[in-house]
Amino acid sequence: MEIYFVLGIPLAGALALALVGERDWAPEANVGISLATLSAAAALTFDVIGHGPLLAWNEQLFVDPFNVFLVALTALVGATTSIFSRPYMRIEQHHGRVNVRRLRLYHSMFQMFMFTMLLALLTNNMGILWVAMEAATLTTVLLVSLYRTPASLEAAWKYFILCGVGIAQALFGTILLYLAAERLLGAAGSTALLWTHLNDVKDGLEPTVLQLAFVFLLVGYGTKVGLAPLHNWLPDAHAEGPTPISAVLSGLLLNVALYAVVRCKVLVDGSGNGALAGHLMMGFGLLSVVLAAFFLWRQRDIKRMFAYSSIEHMGIITFAFGMGGPVATFAALLHMTVHSLTKSAIFFAVGHAAQKAGTQIMENIRGLISMSPTVGWGLMLGTLAILGMPPFGVFASEFLILITAMRDHPWATPILLLGLGVAFAAVFMRVQAMIFGEPTVKPLPQSPALVPVFTHLAIVLMLGLYMPPYLAEWYRQAAEMIG
């Protein structure tokens, strides 16, 4: 039952906000809808803890240990982002960057985006998964171009063409998957695209078709994950769109796209033909880590820099899923969680910092800590967390990934360490300069929302020190299923 609420609330919210989104209280309504989605997701989570995996609506929707924590995470980050966006977008309106009609579009599309991501996570049908990912692209194209500046239109166009074309490859992969499955499951009842059914018969699927399908699926969904060399859209879309959207793009959309890749990998691995899928993912992952680390040095725009950091972390997670095995997969799932929370917290802090400074160019942002200690500390702690400093959770997951790499693939360890080291130096140097130094920043017309920043960082800190037993149990179960 809760599963319908999780999907229904954001969809109804999107339609309602499309009608009344220009009212003064629309930001509060947006927060309310997101919190309602979060409570529905929490109820769903408790239901799954109590009764185990469930199927709904003619098996079209399903919840298992792998997607349940992503649903909870998506709903949580969606809710905190809506809390952050309330004062943020009011300040943007005050600065004259958006008018009320655009705000209506923004609020409606924000909820629509949440709906498409939750649908992508909860659907059991690989075809609907594709449709939901494409719909997520369309809604975010509108959000990235919200300011209508030449740069934002260019970013949105690039995003649409690259992701649209990329995701078309994933549709071809899905067709090939259907071709392989139809021989075993039959086309009549159309269960041949349902993941649970595919998973049951995966060792009978034709390996050659599945391998080719996986190449297309990885390229397609990998474009949305931001894997190098398909990452070109990502920094532009993050830098030119509104900051709450950068936070949900990095924190949620990349995760959901990677989730799609991993679902496909499970099937390909099960069809039993070598480790092609794993090797491909490891290769793309390592390339992304190294490329992003070196691009980090050349950034001047603060949001672009953290966008490259997202590419780096997605590379680490993809690499870990590619290695496979219980420890690496456990670490990858943990890293998905902590990266999502930390990166969105950083974008919240970055958003207010850029508003205070009136620019996103890092050279012109100075002395955050003396003007606004909370924004400064939020950015500092978030940066330390994302760079993998103990005791934050990112350290735990990166440590696990590194030791597994040392054991199973020693050749990859120096490459990973190089990437992490270069990224550390590049990001730390710039963030330190922005936080200390002579202040150039101005006070804001609205008090910023910093509760989301510290809530996220507190969770990440907790996950580094202590992991609740049921969470660890989920990760273990999911890791077992993914293999």
């Binding site: 594709w130 260019e154 063409i161 649209g164 071809f172 067709i175 259907y178 071709l179 691009f295």
Partner: protein, 221 residues
């Protein structure tokens, strides 16, 4: 040589025409003619789907054919025509298009696709499996078109042609995807087209042109 049944011959003929139309689109500079070619591609796709449905008795393919007719032969070309009329780019032509070398790359792509599709089409159980290579080639040729063009509207037509190729692939490999998937994909395409229609006006308002040369400020230097 054995005689194939007439319906299979028809399907193969349609597949060949589809490939031909894709090449024609690749070399067409004029926007108006490009939209007509796109509509023609949709019409061939619709006829071919209907023939497969008639040949195999798969009734849901008739729905697919009707969907293709409504969306890709009527709705999308109509929207595109209206769009270019309102944007006043009706008679614009693409400058600087090296047709001979684009064609050569296209031919090589087709050969590559046939090679790639060979092992898969042997595994498929449909009567239309030999056309899978052509479907893949249509996808790749549309891809080439998106890469080589510098106008926003042409890139979108390339994107839609790619969707046509994917539809054709689904029909030839598996007699189409489940209905719910096909319907939602069609909905996505339609919504995407409407969004882009609005988008074109914004691009033109900001850049005074739909030429993508103007959109090259965001890159790493």
């Amino acid at each position: 040589m054995t005689h194939l049944p007439i319906s299979i011959q028809l399907i193969n003929l349609f597949a060949a025409v589809l490939l031909l139309v894709s090449f024609a689109m690749l070399s067409q500079r004029r926007l108006v003619s490009l939209i007509d070619l796109f509509a023609m591609q949709g019409a061939v796709l619709c006829l071919s789907t209907a023939t497969v449905a008639w040949n195999t008795g798969q009734t849901h393919l008739y729905f697919s054919a009707v969907l293709t007719l409504l969306l890709k032969v009527i709705a999308l070309p109509y929207l595109l025509h209206r769009l270019i009329r309102r944007l006043n780019v009706r008679w614009e032509a693409e400058p600087m298009l090296n047709i001979p070398s684009t064609m050569l790359v296209g031919v090589m792509l087709v050969i590559f696709c046939f090679g790639l599709a060979q092992p898969i089409s042997e595994l498929a159980s449909t009567v239309t499996r030999s056309t899978l290579g052509i479907a893949m080639a249509v996808v790749m040729l549309s891809f080439l078109m998106i890469i080589t063009r510098r106008k926003a509207v042409t890139q979108v037509i390339g994107f839609l042609a790619m969707e046509n190729g994917l539809f054709f692939a689904a029909t030839s490999a598996t007699y189409g995807m489940p209905m719910v998937v096909e319907l939602s994909v069609a909905l996505d395409v339609l919504v995407g087209m409407l969004i882009l229609g609005v988008f074109f006006f914004q691009i033109r308002e900001r850049f005074d042109s739909l030429d993508l040369h103007h959109m090259e400020s965001l890159k790493e230097d």
